[in-house]
């Protein structure tokens, strides 16, 4: 039996909304926190899906933007909580604890980083692109470790979750709601983007860069814009993730995390709108269930992944809808 993808997407969103509400009624805050993690990871993967699923470029460095978002939150909140001044030469601030400001900073810095990395790494494609993004990820990781002002290897703890005007972010369900709204917003933008002239051209550039070039569109510029958008969304997710844990560390920049983001997308279905969401649900569920079963749960995850890759069926959504997904 094959399902209609639109109906399936609706059911997934409904499930994402109702599970935490149920957890609220039976008073299980831990489940809400777990679901918040799902939503944030999904948001990060929605970002990666723009360049990976639609653009067809395997970025193995998206932890860069996740980490930048995390550190944007960490640094701003750190200065606000210690009442010290943040002096960047160009501007001076006392830091902030307001989420919207933190998000804007996280997205702006991620976009800038994505632009610079994109200019260099999009000069190439294919395996080169994979290796270069992986290498830049490692650069940020080591830089965060050797930068003692903000905790170096130990990371940075933020004592109280940042604030959002009119809401109590300390209540798990309210913070969940913020994250879910942002995820839905990102999904909406992604859905619009895929149908826009830009999205269609990007899709065409994945299938054949040369053909797109012959009709007068520069594929490198398309990919650069997609990479910047992609990094921006993942950067926002990083800021939320840091707020969820009230902690940032260089681990957010690690290559393993970049790999996990790709895994999320592939589990769900590459290039699918809801692929990252399904992938994040399955990933967190596996981590939770298998992690409780054995401390070597990553072996099982590895075997599952091998199975998914070797018997390629377009991820879970592709399997359920019976339609193969985009090929990268």
């Amino acid at each position: 039996m094959h399902l209609n993808e639109t109906a399936l997407n609706g059911a997934i969103l409904l499930g994402l909304l109702s599970l935490p509400l149920y957890a609220l009624i039976v008073d299980e805050p831990y489940t809400i926190t777990l679901m918040t993690r799902v939503v944030i990871l999904a948001l990060a993967a929605v970002g990666l899906n723009i360049i990976l699923g639609v653009g067809g470029l395997v970025s193995f460095g998206h932890a860069i933007f996740f980490g930048i978002g995390g550190y944007a939150m960490g640094i701003l909140a750190y200065h606000a909580q210690t009442f010290t001044i943040l002096d960047f030469g160009l501007f001076i601030t006392d830091g902030t604890r307001l989420m919207p400001v933190i998000w804007l900073v996280a997205m702006a810095v991620s976009a800038t980083a994505a632009f610079l990395i994109g200019i260099l790494s999009l000069r190439t494609s294919g395996v080169y692109f994979i290796m270069i993004t992986l290498a830049f990820g490692q650069m940020f990781y080591y830089f965060a470790i050797s930068w003692p002002e903000y905790g170096g290897e130990d990371g940075l703890s933020i004592y109280v979750r940042n604030t959002f005007p009119g809401l109590n972010t300390l209540a798990p369900i309210q913070f969940f709601a913020i994250c879910l709204v942002l995820l839905c917003l990102a999904l909406y933008i992604m859905a619009r983007l895929r149908r826009s002239p830009f999205g269609l051209a990007l899709n065409a550039a994945r299938q054949s860069g040369i053909r797109v070039e012959t009709v007068g569109i520069d594929p490198v510029r398309l990919r650069l814009l997609a990479f910047v958008l992609s990094g921006t969304v993942t950067g926002l997710a990083g800021a939320l993730y840091a707020d969820l844990n009230r902690f940032v560390s260089p681990v957010m920049f690690s290559w393993q995390f970049s790999g996990e983001l790709i895994v999320l997308i592939v589990i769900g279905g590459v290039g699918r709108l809801m692929g990252p969401v399904v992938g994040a649900c399955v990933f967190v569920a596996l981590e939770h269930l298998l992690g409780g079963l054995t401390e070597f749960w990553l072996i099982i995850l590895g075997l599952i992944l091998l199975g998914i890759v070797l018997f390629d069926r377009g991820g879970i959504i592709g399997f359920l809808t019976g339609r193969a997904g985009a090929h990268v």
Partner: protein, 308 residues
């Protein structure tokens, strides 16, 4: 800054560089011949180091340990190639990346399961420990000198293998046109297994040799793997010569940058700040080098411009 310090650091950089070369040579060979990006190459490095440390503990012989590292890594490589990698040659890069990422998870956690989370130690044998006096009165570790010599010897050996032997002809032909050499009667799938095992053995050897100066632990392979990627991006994919030049450049940049950048910064900054910004910047040195090469030559110093 004394001449002694400079010579010492240049030698350290060379030693680091030739070990990176052993990793990068296998990766670039596998990519050149089979068109495969192998993230699990770092796991083969780790397997070599663990095999060496375990063998040395039982037998006490360093030579046996090296032989075990070569054998274990080559065997692991051959098994992985036959069971998993073989199905990926025609697959898109994303599938190759994911499958080899899955292999990292399985091999790393499997190793942790067998050996535990604590690092193992592999000692340098007595004959090779200690220092030698170089011309000019510079004291330098004998073992590190031997590593440099071994690395260059292997580089020459690889060159002879690829340029001067029948197997080398088949490998080069396989890079150009795999269907043609299959038609000419070369058993292409065993050639692939052989090349993969050869690359794995080089990685395993590097792991064992480096394992004697660092600790042997799970996850030791991946940072080296990523540096080997930087080497390949600089040198050009598929070129052994590029791998050697790239590896030496990366080794020297990383080592010399870490020592001399803070010193240079001290000229115009106060010592504490100079130390901090110097070492933070040195951590980025090789990536800046990579960025520069990308701007100048996107396909690497010795890369061939081709559609990937």
């Amino acid at each position: 800054m004394s001449v002694i310090l400079i010579v010492e650091q240049v030698l350290n950089g060379l030693q680091f560089g030739v070990m990176l070369f052993l990793m990068a040579a296998g990766l670039t060979l596998i990519f050149g011949v089979m068109g495969l990006i192998n993230l699990a190459h770092g796991s083969l490095y780790m397997i070599g180091a663990f095999a060496a440390a375990a063998t040395a503990e039982v037998t006490g012989s360093f030579l046996l340990a090296l032989a075990a590292a070569l054998a274990a890594a080559a065997a692991a490589g051959a098994i992985i190639e036959v069971t998993v990698i073989r199905r990926l040659y025609a697959a898109p890069h994303l599938n190759q990346v994911l499958a080899t990422f899955a292999l990292i998870l399985i091999l790393s956690e499997g190793t942790r399961w067998v050996f535990g989370s604590f690092p193992l130690f592999l000692d340098i044998p007595d004959i090779l420990s200690g220092t030698v006096t170089l011309p000019g009165g510079i004291q330098y570790s004998l073992y590190r000198l031997i590593l440099i010599a071994t690395g260059f010897a292997i580089a020459i050996g690889l060159w002879v293998l690829i340029e001067r032997t029948r197997l080398g002809i088949q490998i080069r032909a396989g890079e150009n046109d795999r269907e043609m050499i299959a038609v000419l009667g070369v058993d292409i799938s065993s050639l692939y297994t052989l090349v993969f095992a050869l690359g794995a053995a080089l990685a395993g050897l590097a792991g064992a040799l480096v394992g004697a100066i660092q600790s042997v632990q799970v996850g030791m392979g991946e940072p080296v793997l990523i540096l080997a990627f930087v080497v390949i991006v600089i040198g050009g994919i598929g070129s052994i010569r590029g791998a050697l030049v790239g590896a030496l450049l990366v080794g020297l940049t990383d080592t010399l940058g870490g020592v001399f950048l803070p010193e240079i910064f001290k000229v115009f900054m106060e010592p504490g700040a100079a130390q901090r910004s110097g070492s933070a910047l040195a951590a980025m040195g090789i990536y800046v080098l990579m960025g520069g090469v990308l701007v100048w030559r996107p396909t690497g110093l010795f890369g061939v411009r081709r559609c990937i």
